[in-house]
Structures are given as C-alpha cells and as structure tokens.
C-alpha cells in the first residue's frame, strides 16, 4: 500500500496451502534457511497512524502465525532481522533484541508513520529486549503482548491487557509432538552411523569375520538399535509428563527399561541373533543408556529446562550413560565370540 513515506508491503491474514506446506517442511528441517520474510514494515488491513505496531521475527512461521491472527484488524507489523530464527531462540541469542528493534524503528521512520509511541512485542522476545532501553533510545514504549499469537485478538480487545494465563508458557502434547521431526532429523546421522557400525561388526565371531553373520545378527542388532533410538525420540516428547523423574535422563532411563520386555520378545523369536547371556546383558545396558541419552538431548527443545539444571543432570547422567554404553558394547562384542 502507498503511504506518504513510500510503498509498504501489504500482507493478507489468510494462510495459503503453500504457507502450511512450507511450515510442515520447516518442521522437518527442509528449506529452513530460505524460510524467512524480508525485514521491515508490513501492513495488515488498512492501517493508519493510530493502528498498533506489532513486532515480529523474520522466521516465516512466526510471521505467518502472527498475521493469521489479525483477521479484520488494521495493524503494522515491524519485522526484525532474526536470520530466519523464531522469536524465543532469537531473543536468547540476542538477534531479537534491543539493538535490532531500535534499528528497524529508525529504518522504517516509525515515528512518522504512527502518531502513538507503542510497540507491541511478543512476550518471549523479552529475554532479548530491554523495554526501558528501547523507550530511551527510540522513544517508543514496549508493551509485551501475549506469549501466543492466538491470544492477540483478546489482548487487543481488552486494550492491550494480558491475563495471567496469556503470560504463561505451557508445553502441551501438540507442542511437544511438533518437535519430533526435527529431533529425528537431528539424530539421524549419528543413529544410522551407529546402526551401520553394529551391522558390520556383527560379522565378527569365532573363527574370524564372516559376512554370513550379517543378514541374521547384523540386521537384528541394527534394527534393535534403531528401534530403541526412534522409540525414545518419539515417545519421550509424547510421554514426557508421565515418565517418572524430573531429569530428562531419568525419564529416558525408565523408557529404556520399559523397552526391555520387547528386547526379550525379540530374543525369543530370533534366538540366533541374541544367543548367550553376554548379548542379552549388552542390550539390557545399551537400550536404557541410548534412551537416557536421547531423552536428555530433548532438553534443548523443552520450554522449561534451565541451563543450571541441565548441567546438574548431565554431571551425573553422562558418565553413567557412557559407562553403560561402553560396557554394553564390550559385552555385545564378547557375545559375538561366545
């Protein structure tokens, strides 16, 4: 749309199929680097000098979530350069920050575009934005909006008032499961490598190396390792509130132990792949160790783990995981020759 200060991009509040498709792909880590919006001022509806200014990251999912909640509203969106990263992560890194807001306000000449002096900043930007500093440097006061864009219409209707619940970050099932694809993609390289290593090492046995062992023991060992890994990555987020313990490494251990009856079942149906107590003992150590480690790595995706807490649990968990994993591998190798 045209303004006295030049052309401003106007966006719709309707998400197209292509938007939803690119959001799905981003969840799988596909094309994430291109999944961004040009920084700067954007118009929604037909904003005037009195219309509110909402600040957004340039991660397209953040931007799309915001604009899709502004149906029927006239507003300005000030998009910050966060390099395609969402509000909360960018705030933690500093890119969704005081400096960038001040920079964009200046670049858009916002003081000439709107007659008021308020910026509505998503609450999760607060870890990167010092409201009093923004006011001092740009003349604009920061009103922190709700955590979730869905609450924006109610927030705006109430005259920029947030309820206590609008200011809380929860971690419901839907949010937890949305993270699973990226967790799988992130671990895939290492998990597949480990599975391939086990497959090849399965050729070892009394009398040297024999490829004849690979289709049996090799395949089943790789499959079991993959099942334990994928099972942990998928079920840790799903079962998170119900797994015992507060440390994620502990929750993962319980999950791994719960897998052991399935390991026993596999041993029953394919005894040739699980012969001997060293092999069985090996899996009893490996499966919980792998599950514990993978669950512990979910801490980065949660909305509530502190760095101090993560360090505390790792100090105990990592040595135990390492010892069990090494012992498990050693026992498994011993099991090749027994």
């Amino acid at each position: 749309m045209s303004t006295p200060w030049g052309e401003v991009r106007r966006v719709s509040t309707t998400l197209q199929t292509s938007d939803r498709l690119s959001a799905w792909k981003a969840r799988w880590g596909i094309g994430r680097m291109r999944y961004r919006v040009e920084p700067g001022l954007v118009a929604v509806g037909r904003p005037t000098a009195e219309s509110p200014v909402l600040v957004s990251a340039n991660y397209k999912m953040s931007f799309d979530r915001l604009r899709s909640q502004l149906d029927g509203q006239d507003a300005w969106i000030l998009v910050l350069e966060t390099y395609g990263v969402n509000v909360w992560c960018a705030a933690g890194k500093g890119t969704f920050g005081t400096d960038e807001i001040v920079r964009r306000v200046e670049a858009a000449q916002l003081q000439r575009v709107v007659s008021h002096r308020t910026l509505i900043v998503p609450q999760l930007g607060a870890s990167g934005v010092a409201a009093h500093e923004v006011k001092q440097r740009s003349g604009f006061r920061v009103a922190y909006g709700p955590v979730r864009a869905e609450d924006l219409p109610a927030f705006l209707d109430a005259g920029m008032q947030a309820t206590a619940e609008m200011r809380r970050v929860r971690f419901p099932l839907g949010d937890r499961t949305a993270l699973i694809p990226m967790e799988l993609v992130g671990a895939a390289k290492y998990v597949l490598l480990a599975a391939a290593a086990m497959f090849l090492l399965a050729g070892l046995g009394a009398g040297g190396y024999s490829a004849a062992r690979l289709p049996g023991v090799g395949v089943w060992s790789a499959v079991l390792l993959l099942a334990a890994a994928v099972g942990s990555i998928v079920l840790t987020p799903v079962l998170l509130p119900w797994l015992p313990g507060r440390a994620l490494s502990v929750k993962g251990t319980w999950l791994g132990l719960a897998f052991l009856p399935f390991v026993a079942g596999a041993a029953w149906f394919r005894p040739e792949a699980f012969s001997g107590w060293p092999t069985v003992a090996a899996w009893c150590l490996l499966v919980p160790a792998v599950a514990s480690f993978l669950a512990m790595n979910f801490t980065g995706a949660t909305t509530y783990t502190s760095l101090s807490g993560v360090r505390r649990e790792m100090a105990l968990a990592v040595p135990i995981q390492a010892v069990c994993a090494v012992a498990g591998v050693v026992l498994w190798l011993v099991g090749r020759f027994v």
């Binding site: 992560c89 999760l124 409201a131 119900w242 994620l248 509530y304 993560v310």
Partner: protein
Amino acid sequence: MVELRYLPNVTTLDFDVDKCTGCGMCAAVCPHAVFEVENGEARIADRDACMECGACQRNCPAAAIAVESGVGCATFVIMQAVQGDKASCCCSGDSSDCAPGC
C-alpha cells in the same frame, strides 16, 4: 495435565528486594510466573520454576535481578565441550547465513 517441573534448587536467580521499585516488569515477562508483585514490591513466588531465560534481568530497570541466563540444552553443553567457543545453540545446523558471532 500433569505440571512439568524441572530440577529444584538449581537456579542462579538472585533478587535484591531493596532495589525493587515495584514496576511489575519481572512478573509481566516471566514465562513461568516466578515473580509476584504485591503492595508495590516484587517477590519470588516459585523459584524452582525459573528456567534462567534472563527476561526478568533484562527488563528490570532497577537492576534488582541477576541470573546466569543460558540455554537449557544438553546438546549445546556437549557441543561447547567439543567445539568450545565455536559452538552455537542454533538447531538449524546450516550457519551459512546467520548473524555474526552467532
């Protein structure tokens, strides 16, 4: 839903009530309702809910709050041990077009 709680007694959150002006910013920005403001003064209502995001510290105009903020991510801690300063907390992997120093 069962409330998700993390480890107790670990947070580095430090609040100096003497400096507090009762502006309420800490309570407004905290994602886990750690602070409550009553009678013109803030107090820590739920210490163990703190995830050390640093929003309170950054938005306290009276500098009454200190916390060692960081990302509660085990993978990042591991990467730091392996890569040192080159470790990034970004999950996107590809850092070819990221902010300088990120």
